[in-house]
């Protein structure tokens, strides 16, 4: 099946002028007479002409397309970020190609390489939890394709980054549990090869420290960002001789697993044990009891990432300094953690 749209050459032949004249008339060049300019414009409109973007790409080595790689588009966190990216990209004439890494290093590398050969103008990415090597990002940079990281960044790659202040968020979350009167607070941490996993764990530890609460090794466990792992670890935690009176999960996915486990075990939240998640999942408010969590500014994160990327793309020379923007998550108090009156 072939494409059929009108070309400049056809317009030119029909009007009896050269294709350069048509091209210039279309771009409203000053060196084309008013009369011919009108004739060209009229015919172009009549024939419903639109320039071939592929030819343009070939000419100026630009595709007006940005690639986005996320672990999973079904995750509302990522789809919301993508929404933000799309908004600013589309408004500035760029397309967005979305790739999924499915948390796999191999697929991330494959997608990155694909993007490189596809001559995408730039890449916005949140790295997969399985990624430990960053060579594929260096290759991109060597090809002069700018990158912006969001949420999960490769620390050693120098480029713009848009992050959430996971440390502070976790700190706030933990402090909230403390304010609710909990003293034996456990943490189910995320993968420690991801900075978000490490930072949330640090925030937890420092909050405990600030309030002089004990840090017990057996109360701090870690796993993948998965519901199944969360449920599993909740059983372990509650089986301990010294039970925690609160669990702070590093993500809502984990927290939902914990939630399921606690209900199965017959615990009441928050009376018996308080629960907090991280990164609002929209499902979280539907649970019974609804889950307290840290809301992340996802849409805004996408917008900012896109703004930074387009800046890189459109500037002639590499910037002198790279920027790291840090956005603040916000505490949402729901029933799973709020013991105090008034709720």
């Amino acid at each position: 099946m072939a494409r059929s749209s009108v070309t400049i050459k056809e317009l030119a032949k029909e009007l009896g002028v050269s294709k350069s004249t048509v091209s210039r008339a279309l771009r409203d060049s000053s060196e084309i007479g008013e009369a011919t300019k009108q004739r060209v414009l009229d015919l172009a409109r009549a024939r419903n002409y639109s320039p071939n973007p592929i030819a343009l790409s070939l000419l100026n080595n630009r595709t007006y397309t940005v690639g986005v790689i996320v672990p999973d588009i079904a995750n509302p966190f990522f789809s919301s970020v993508i929404g933000g990216v799309e908004e600013v990209a589309y408004s500035r004439g760029y397309h967005v190609m979305i790739y999924q890494s499915h948390e796999s290093y191999e697929r991330e590398v494959a997608s990155t390489r694909h993007i490189a050969t596809r001559h995408v103008d730039g890449l916005i990415i949140s790295i997969a939890s399985g990624t430990v090597e960053y060579e594929h990002f260096r290759e991109l940079k060597e090809n002069n394709i700018p990158i912006v990281f969001f949420d999960r960044a490769a620390e050693e790659i120098r480029t713009h980054k848009v992050l959430v202040d996971d440390y502070n968020g976790a700190f706030q979350a933990t402090e909230h549990l403390i304010e609710e009167g909990c003293t034996k607070i456990a943490h189910i941490a995320g993968p420690q090869n991801l900075s978000i996993g490490r930072n949330r764990a640090r925030g937890y530890l420092d909050a405990l420290g600030k309030h002089g609460l004990p840090v017990r090794e057996e109360w701090m466990v870690h796993c993948e960002f998965s519901q199944a792992d969360g449920e599993e670890l909740a059983y372990q935690l509650m089986a301990l001789r010294e039970r925690p009176d609160a669990i702070f999960a590093a993500s809502d996915r984990i927290a939902i697993g914990v939630h399921t486990a606690l209900r199965k075990l017959g615990y009441r939240m928050p009376e018996d044990i308080a629960l907090m998640g991280f990164s609002d999942l929209a499902i979280s408010s539907l649970l019974d009891p609804p889950l307290s969590t840290m809301i992340q500014p996802t849409f805004e994160m996408g917008q900012q990432a896109a703004v930074l990327l387009l800046e890189l793309i459109e500037s002639k020379k590499p910037p002198v300094t790279y920027e790291t923007r840090v956005l603040m998550p916000e505490l949402v108090r729901r029933k799973s953690s709020v013991k105090t009156a008034g709720y």
Copy 2:
């Protein structure tokens, strides 16, 4: 920022041969001597050559890209379909560009046009609930860009379609409620301008008819596929003088709204009232009680749509006849509707 990769011309100059020779050697043409072929291949590997896909696109009017337009990528139904599309597309060397219509007719038209000018090889789409005009699809067909619809199709456009048997699914769902002993079954239907809305409503009505149950006008209401609407309408239904003893919601989203309302009102499910949704949302199993629903073969739907589209793209001439594949949804019995023992 410019791209930097090696071109055929550069390889040719370095080897002292013509670019046609290099091109042919790379494609392993039989009319190039073994010796030169090796030299070319070696240098190409050393210089890390990869052909410029843009130039290729320009040449044969192909982009090896398929567009996908869905109302909302955050909806697991659609993201799962996209997963299926990606799987077969990638395995056959195609890229996938994802667009969101956000249920808006205008955005759907804009995306469709965009896709047309972008010279995508084909389009896979599930139309927005706000779409009533199909002119933009005709334009695509005029440009010889093949389309495959999934789930929500434009009936008057002749092309391949992959649908779910909504009629039968709704029929099964309703029959299931009847088997559980419900006799006063209400239906919250979806938008009636979408075939999936209409077909599910028909399935509901016919199941009632088959079992000789009354069809009461006030027990059949309709709204958008939204949680808020579902909650709203649940209040209305339960306020009726003659209360239903079961509600079949046309989608899980609606059903979740109903679920919330019923709990707020103090009803027990399924004892006081049974509830069924449609199109498993993954959240549905986490509700208390878990929601019965009709699982849709989403991933498979994506695969089939992609297979059909690639077939259209790669065949020279338009097919003599267009195919409509109908996939069967599957009943999932959960607590919200199962009164009988053994659960």
